[in-house]
Structures are given as structure tokens and as C-alpha cells.
């Protein structure tokens, strides 16, 4: 019997078309727009000015606080402008636009392909390097990684959990990374273990990726303390609370963090970025992005420089099919439709999915009959049918009492609802309002 999390969950069709497509390096774009707010926390402070020459890997925007992240240039060239640019948030936000000239890297970056297995850095150095490299959670949440690794006083981590679940349908970037960069990943995990001071790491992978499970189990024998665990396929197993429950059967208390129960969760993409940052001195300026869709001619996995327009990726995957009606940044469950395909790829872009017209329209809404399918689907044990009513009636204090802030916006409720109610939309609105209330209370 394979492990999984206990409460709720759904089974959307997998549609992993690009699972057997090796990672290709996307040709350099003509121009990149690098937003200064690609992470959760304060936007980075811009360090360059219009007309400046920059190199690949050069720091162009500095972390503006503890919960913030450095941003590095992903290309070499000239800064064309520092103006707001439409990004995947749907809004114009400050970004650094660079015209690409050649491909000149910072000389400090080790570009050799050899695996560097020996770890000389101590915990503090590793965390410092991760912060300097601007690494954020690459699973999509983009929470600055160094913050997660800085365990608050009085708390102790005893296990590191590595998220290789990739429970979102369509996406395959983590899957490919595990298959192609297994050893680098293992060294990255060991770096994270040392940074946290733990001697145990568990990699959770869903059972729909048997090749990755087999390969990583094989090579994990060479590294001490790392074990690989196959998990039953169920969305949203990649949510950190669900993964912890599935792997070590502990529950994060409501409003708490995984560290409260001694666990720290990092994505496989993050672990790989940590390897590159610490062992190869390479900051985070490129990532693997899945470009896929039912009618897309060539679904692919690309290694993409941050700031590349999404339209470049789609062109490389065979171009936009005629019947396209929606392009989603992220997974189909939690991702967000972009308003223009010129938006740049950011650190949080795990996939670009092109949907045909037939699949992109919402179905007509009907009325709630209290069938409670949403209740059984919710992995956090909330009551979405109740929350939407409260949100529509602006009963935000009651929503707080109903623990709306525990919602991680996985969308399982909206997916299951037979009446096609916009459950998640209203719950998200409620979360925003509840957060406002809490902030006002503090002041």
C-alpha cells in the first residue's frame, strides 16, 4: 500500500505529454524583462541604471529585507529600460529590460559540467550562498529559500523533505530534472541537510514517475541519509503539509509552519539550484520550464533564462495552435492565465500550458445543493460551500473563525463542484480580506 495524505484530494487527468522529452536549452532571446518582484516578500532594490552593461549572473537587484531575494541578470547586454512591464500577475510591475548582446558570464561562475561532490562549506556559508544566489522555492510558491533554512531559535528540524511529487497535471519539469540531474540533485540535498543540521532526507515522488523513482533509489545508495519514497498519485500531494502527512504522518498545526513539527520541505528544483549556487557559484537565473498543451505541436521541457518572453517558449514548442483560447502560467490547477503571451518567465514559472477553446471556458454555474463534494475534496478539512457564502455576503470575521487562512488555494473544491461554483475565487477574496482585518488589528 503506497503512502498518501489522509484528507481530501482529487484525481485530475494527468496529461503529462512532455514526460519523455529531455530538457533542451532554449536559444537566447533578443530581449529579457526581469521583474524585481519574482518572490514572496519585498521587491528587490534595483542596482543598475538605463544604459549599463551587464553580464550573465551579475547582481542587478538586491534583496530588500530578510524575506526578499536577490535578482541576477540572466543575459549579457545593455539595460534598455527600467519601467513597469506586464508580468504574469496581470499587472504592470517594475522590471529591468535588457537587450541581449553575446553571452558573457561572470568569471566567478564555474561552467564546467563535472559533478562536484565534495562539500567544504559549513552550514552558515551554505545559507549565505543560497541567499546571495537569490534562490526561492521553485515549486511555484517562490518563498525565499534562505528564510526556510534559517530555523528560528527554540525550534529544531529533524528531517528534510524533498518534494519531487509534481502533482499538477501536465507539468514535467521536476520529473525531467530528477532523471537528468540526479547526482547534482543528491549533492544539493546533502547541502540542504548540512545547512539544517539534519541527517535524514526523504524524497517523495508520485508513483506515476516509476523511472524517476527507480533511478533516484539507485543513486541514493551512494549518498548517506537520503531515501526515496513512492507515493500514491493524488492531487495536491505536492502541497507541503500534504507531503509531510504522507511521508512522516505528522500534521502541521493550523496557522503553523512545517518547522513547528520538525520538518522542512524543499522542491527538487530548489535543491538543484542550491547545488549550482554552492558548488558552482552560479546564481539562480535560469530554470526548467515545461511548455505543453493538447494541441501544441511539440510539447517540451526547456532550460530557460529568467525574463525570456513566454511567446519565445511557445514558438520553440511549435507555435501557438489556431484554436488556442487560454495560456496558463503554472499548472492547470493552481496556475493563472496570462493576459498577454509577451509576459516574462520568472523564477516561479514551472510550466506554460496552452489550452484550446473547448477546454478553457468555465461551465455555466448552477446552484449549490450542499452535496458536500467540496468538503470531501478539501485536503485541509475546510468547508468551501460555507466559505463561498460567507465571502459573497462579506462575513469576513466569520471566515477567519472558519479557518479560511488554512486554505492553500489548491482548487480541489472548484474542480469537484458539480454546480461549477467559483468556490476558490471567492475563498481567495475572503483570504485577502481576512488578512486585511488581521493587519488592521495588529496596528
Amino acid at each position: 500500500m503506497l503512502k498518501t495524505f489522509a484528507k481530501g484530494g482529487v484525481h485530475p487527468p494527468e496529461n503529462k505529454f512532455s514526460a519523455n522529452k529531455p530538457i533542451e536549452v532554449l536559444p537566447l532571446p533578443a530581449k529579457v524583462s526581469i521583474p524585481v518582484s519574482q518572490h514572496i516578500g519585498a521587491p528587490a532594490t534595483i542596482l543598475v541604471a538605463k544604459g549599463d552593461k551587464v553580464k550573465v549572473g551579475q547582481l542587478i537587484a538586491q534583496s530588500a529585507g530578510f524575506v526578499s531575494a536577490n535578482i541576477h541578470s540572466s543575459v549579457s547586454g545593455t539595460v534598455e529600460s527600467i519601467d513597469p512591464v506586464l508580468d504574469s500577475s496581470g499587472y504592470k510591475r517594475p522590471a529591468i529590460t535588457i537587450v541581449v548582446e553575446g553571452d558573457e558570464w561572470e568569471p566567478t561562475i564555474d561552467r564546467s559540467p563535472e559533478l562536484k561532490r565534495n562539500i567544504d562549506a559549513d552550514a552558515q556559508t551554505i545559507i549565505k550562498k543560497i541567499a546571495e544566489a537569490g534562490i526561492v522555492g521553485l515549486g511555484g510558491a517562490t518563498f525565499p529559500s534562505h528564510v526556510k533554512l534559517s530555523v528560528p531559535a527554540g525550534k529544531k528540524a529533524d528531517v528534510l523533505i524533498i518534494n519531487g511529487v509534481e502533482c499538477e497535471p501536465y507539468l514535467t519539469s521536476d520529473h525531467r530534472l530528477m532523471l537528468e540531474k540526479g547526482h547534482e540533485l543528491m549533492v544539493g540535498i546533502q547541502l540542504l541537510m548540512r545547512a539544517l543540521g539534519v541527517d535524514k532526507a526523504m524524497i517523495g515522488i508520485e508513483n506515476n514517475k516509476p523511472d524517476a523513482i527507480k533511478y533516484l533509489t539507485e543513486i541514493a545508495k551512494e549518498y548517506s541519509g537520503i531515501t526515496v519514497h513512492a507515493l500514491k498519485v493524488k492531487y495536491p500531494q505536492g502541497g507541503e503539509k500534504q507531503l509531510i502527512k504522507a511521508l512522516i504522518n505528522r500534521e502541521v498545526p493550523s496557522g503553523g509552519l512545517p518547522i513547528d513539527i520538525g520538518a522542512v520541505v524543499h522542491n527538487v528544483g530548489t535543491a538543484y539550484a542550491v547545488y549550482e549556487a554552492v558548488q558552482k557559484n552560479k546564481p539562480l537565473f535560469e530554470r526548467v520550464v515545461t511548455v505543453t498543451g493538447k494541441n501544441l505541436p511539440k510539447p517540451s521541457n526547456f532550460l530557460v533564462r529568467i525574463g525570456t518572453p513566454v511567446s519565445d517558449l511557445i514558438a520553440a514548442a511549435g507555435g501557438l495552435p489556431d484554436d488556442t483560447a487560454k495560456v496558463v502560467n503554472g499548472g492547470p490547477m493552481m496556475g493563472k492565465a496570462v493576459t498577454d503571451i509577451t509576459v516574462p518567465v520568472t523564477k516561479g514559472t514551472s510550466g506554460i500550458i496552452v489550452f484550446p477553446a473547448a477546454e478553457s471556458k468555465r461551465k455555466a454555474e448552477s446552484v449549490c445543493i450542499r452535496c458536500a463534494k467540496c468538503v470531501s475534496a478539501c485536503p485541509m478539512g475546510l468547508e468551501p460551500y460555507l466559505l463561498i457564502r460567507m465571502s459573497q455576503r462579506m462575513m469576513f470575521e466569520k471566515m477567519e473563525h472558519e479557518r479560511v487562512l488554512d486554505c492553500m488555494e489548491c482548487g480541489s473544491c472548484s474542480f469537484e463542484c458539480p454546480a461549477n461554483l467559483p468556490l476558490l475565487d471567492y475563498i481567495r477574496l475572503g483570504k485577502t480580506e481576512v488578512n486585511k482585518i488581521i493587519r488592521a488589528r495588529k496596528n
Binding site: G90, Y91, K92, T339, D340, R362, P422, D425, L429
Partner: protein
């Protein structure tokens, strides 16, 4: 038979009298002493309970009104000056007359001027749409047309025009309670002075982008050129963040800015039609 009925009547009457006495004594013992003027003030208020005054309903307003030292700081937008005068009379004071206000929608971006570039398919709520993206047009400041303002209006005074897809305020019905102002997540609606005979001039745009992008997104956007600021003889117009704003307290309704605006972003409401341009004719003569 008769005796049963009589006994029953007697018992119930006695019970009634005894309990009435108890109730009377309790009522005397736990009497809540309330300013009698509260009821009087509440009686003259409109009773809409809209909250436009900032108090929880008309009763809340009345309670605060009899206590306050400065009645000038309180105003019932629905009842207006008449109601305020009556309410002030109840507590033996006089209220200063205030200019009547009206809600003004500061966006003229109908589909004709502002091209739709995105199709929104979610729930019909401006608040939800704002959380998702900047809007279905190139202008991230403009009206979404999903009607949050219509939903909150208690006076049926604001409606979405089916052609322009923009909210239109009914001048007769609008009480300037400000509910729509608070409901609009884009901060497009503003309460402005209604003006003499409803005449008013305002910049019908809140786009803070530079001229180029603003004009590209919408033909009737304020491009921040500053021509209106220069032409205004009363220094009523200020330009900030590429956007002109007319101070309704300084504006003397001369309409010079309306003529000057190159994009037609400044609107004049309830003015008689202009006379044919005499200057224009002389100019064309000169050109010849």
C-alpha cells in the same frame, strides 16, 4: 360547566394582573435612561440605513448626533441640507448648509475607445477580477464593468450602460451616500460637488501611465499633457503622476479646460450646447 369557565377566567385574569405587576416592577428597576432626542432625530432622518454618514444606520447617526459637540462634522448625504436643518433644530442648534454631492464615474473607456484584449470568464465581481489581473483592456486603471457598484447601491441609482459597458449614475436618485465609492476596487468613483443646476466639470480618467501607453490603451485617456493646467484661470487643476485633477471647490465652470483637452478626457455635464465657434471661423479665414 359555568363554574369551570368562571374559574378559568378568574385564574387567568389574576395571573395576568400578577405578572403585569411583576413586569412593571422589573421595567422600573432595570430602566434604560435614553436621551429622548435620539428618537426625535431618528424620526427626521430618511431611514435608509445606508451607512453613507459613516455610522451604523440612522439610529447610530442619531445617537452620535445628540452627543457630538460639533454637528458640522456630521452629515446625512441622503437627506441633505433639509434633513440636517431639521435634525439640528431638534437639538436646538443650526446646521450649516453644505453643497450637494453626487457620485461621478471617472472612466470614459467604452469599447469604442478602449479595445478589449482579454476575455474574462470568471465570476461577475470587480473585486475578484481585480485580484486576478489588471482588466480586460490595455488600461490597468479603467472600469471593469462587472458591476460591484451596482450591487451595493441601495437607491437603484447606478447602472451599467449596455453600450458603453460603463456605470451611469442617475442624478435624480443618487444620494451621494458613497457606497459605490467604497465598493469600487479600482477607485474610479468619486463624490464631487453636484454644482449649480447640476453643472460640473471633471477629468473622466484615472490613468496614471505616461502619455504614450495611456493613449495606446484608450483613446479618451488623460495623457498628462498639462494643457488644462496652463489654461485654467483659477488654478483649479493639478497634475500629478501624469494625471490631471480638477478641484471642485476652485473650479468656476468656465469650460476652458474642456476645449483645450486633446483627448476629450475632461467632461462637462448639464451645460447648454455651445454656440457655434466664432473663433474657429476667424481662424479658418486667416488660414485662407
Amino acid at each position: 360547566m359555568n363554574s369551570i369557565i368562571i374559574t378559568a377566567i378568574l385564574v387567568l385574569s389574576l395571573l395576568g394582573v400578577a405578572l403585569a405587576v411583576v413586569l412593571y416592577l422589573v421595567a422600573q428597576r432595570f430602566k434604560v435612561i435614553e436621551d429622548p432626542r435620539i428618537d426625535l432625530v431618528e424620526a427626521v432622518l430618511p431611514g435608509a440605513n445606508c451607512g453613507g454618514c459613516g455610522y451604523p444606520g440612522c439610529r447610530g447617526f442619531a445617537e452620535a448626533f445628540v452627543k457630538t459637540d460639533d454637528i458640522g462634522s456630521m452629515f446625512c448625504p441622503v437627506g441633505g441640507n433639509d434633513t440636517m436643518a431639521k435634525a439640528a433644530e431638534v437639538i436646538g442648534q443650526t446646521a450649516e448648509a453644505k453643497d450637494p454631492m453626487i457620485a461621478v464615474v471617472r472612466c470614459s473607456g467604452s469599447p469604442e475607445y478602449r479595445k478589449r484584449v482579454v476575455e474574462y470568464d470568471g465570476a461577475s465581481s470587480c473585486k475578484l477580477a481585480t485580484a486576478l489581473y489588471s482588466g480586460d483592456t490595455g488600461c490597468q486603471y479603467g472600469c471593469l464593468g462587472l458591476g460591484d457598484c451596482v450591487a451595493v447601491c441601495k437607491f437603484d441609482a447606478i447602472h451599467i450602460d449596455p453600450v458603453t459597458l460603463l456605470p451611469v449614475v442617475d442624478e435624480e436618485k443618487c444620494t451621494a451616500c458613497g457606497a459605490c465609492v467604497k465598493a469600487c476596487p479600482k477607485f474610479i468613483i468619486e463624490l464631487r460637488k453636484k454644482g449649480p443646476k447640476g453643472k460640473r466639470i471633471y477629468v473622466s480618467c484615472i490613468n496614471k501611465d505616461k502619455g504614450g501607453p495611456a493613449r495606446k490603451a484608450c483613446q479618451v485617456a488623460c495623457i498628462g499633457c498639462g494643457k488644462c493646467v496652463k489654461v485654467c484661470p483659477h488654478e483649479a487643476i493639478t497634475l500629478e503622476n501624469n494625471l490631471a485633477y480638477i478641484d471642485y471647490n476652485k473650479c468656476k465652470l468656465c469650460r476652458k479646460c474642456v476645449e483645450e483637452c486633446p483627448t476629450g478626457a475632461i467632461l462637462e455635464i448639464n451645460f447648454p450646447p455651445r454656440k457655434p465657434k466664432v473663433e474657429g471661423q476667424t481662424e479658418s479665414v486667416e488660414n485662407n
